[in-house]
Amino acid sequence: MSAIVSALFIGALFGLGLAVSEMIDPARVIGFLDVTGRWDPTLLFVMGGALALTVPAFPLILRCARPLLADFFALPTKSKLDGSLIAGAMIFGIGWGIAGFCPGPALAALTSGSPGVALFVVAMIAGQWLAALREKHS
């Protein structure tokens, strides 16, 4: 139960961060990706602010025997640089460049009630579902 409450609280912190940094606004994201236009470096400061904490803190946390509210650290198990990773990152990059939404900001932006955001999120979930089907068949 406590793990669920903490997930809710931490999610709220994450969503607040996305709103404060204006990453919810796709114009900000496209402005960052538009390196030959009027480049907007805001996203760089968001990544920098987050990495300034996670880069030093992650190794320290992972030295603990277990997390405080769970039995074990559930970390990604894949370590090979494979075609799926590259192809997936490329497909994601195209979608990100078209709309200026990645998954977190899109979900946070849902709260605006914008029908365009809702279309994006429904399509995104459908895309995840379709890609998961392919995993079963391979």
Partner: protein, 139 residues
């Protein structure tokens, strides 16, 4: 386009960083939004869904809280409905195939010194910038 928001970007980034390290410290999980969402859609363990749903609800609550305090947030859509649907399909399938998005690979994966995340982050950044160049400057 608007002026860079350096202070907001840094503050928001720090909040995202705190969230990522708290999720690892308390729940033992990686704060990758595509992965957290994907586990709701498809999960083999029944109890797995609850914390994921709580996190996504929290994410939306956090944004709603900001909108409530500040009287809304800027949301300037960059594509029309058909392109938003196409982009959503690409983002959903791509992050699933590539095991992560900006938060999972970018914020958490780099912090774990994961070579896969470094390659993924560089790849999606370059491809997204190229996509913007092609769609905004060539056509």
């Amino acid at each position: 386009m608007s002026e860079p928001n350096i202070s907001g970007g840094l503050l928001g980034g720090v909040l995202i960083g705190i969230a990522a390290l708290l999720l690892l410290l308390l729940n033992g999980r990686i704060a990758g939004i595509s992965g957290i969402l994907g586990g709701i859609i498809k999960s083999d363990v029944p109890g797995e869904r609850f914390w994921r749903i709580a996190f996504i609800c929290g994410l939306m609550l956090g944004a709603a809280l900001y909108a409530f305090m500040r009287g809304g947030f800027a949301l300037r859509l960059q594509a029309d409905a058909p392109m938003l649907i196409l982009a959503g399909l690409l983002v959903g399938s791509g992050t699933r195939l590539g095991s992560g998005c900006t938060s999972g690979h970018g914020v958490c994966g780099l912090a774990r010194r994961s070579p896969r995340s470094a390659v993924a982050t560089i790849t999606f950044m370059i491809v997204a910038a190229l996509t913007v160049f092609v769609t905004r400057h060539l056509f």
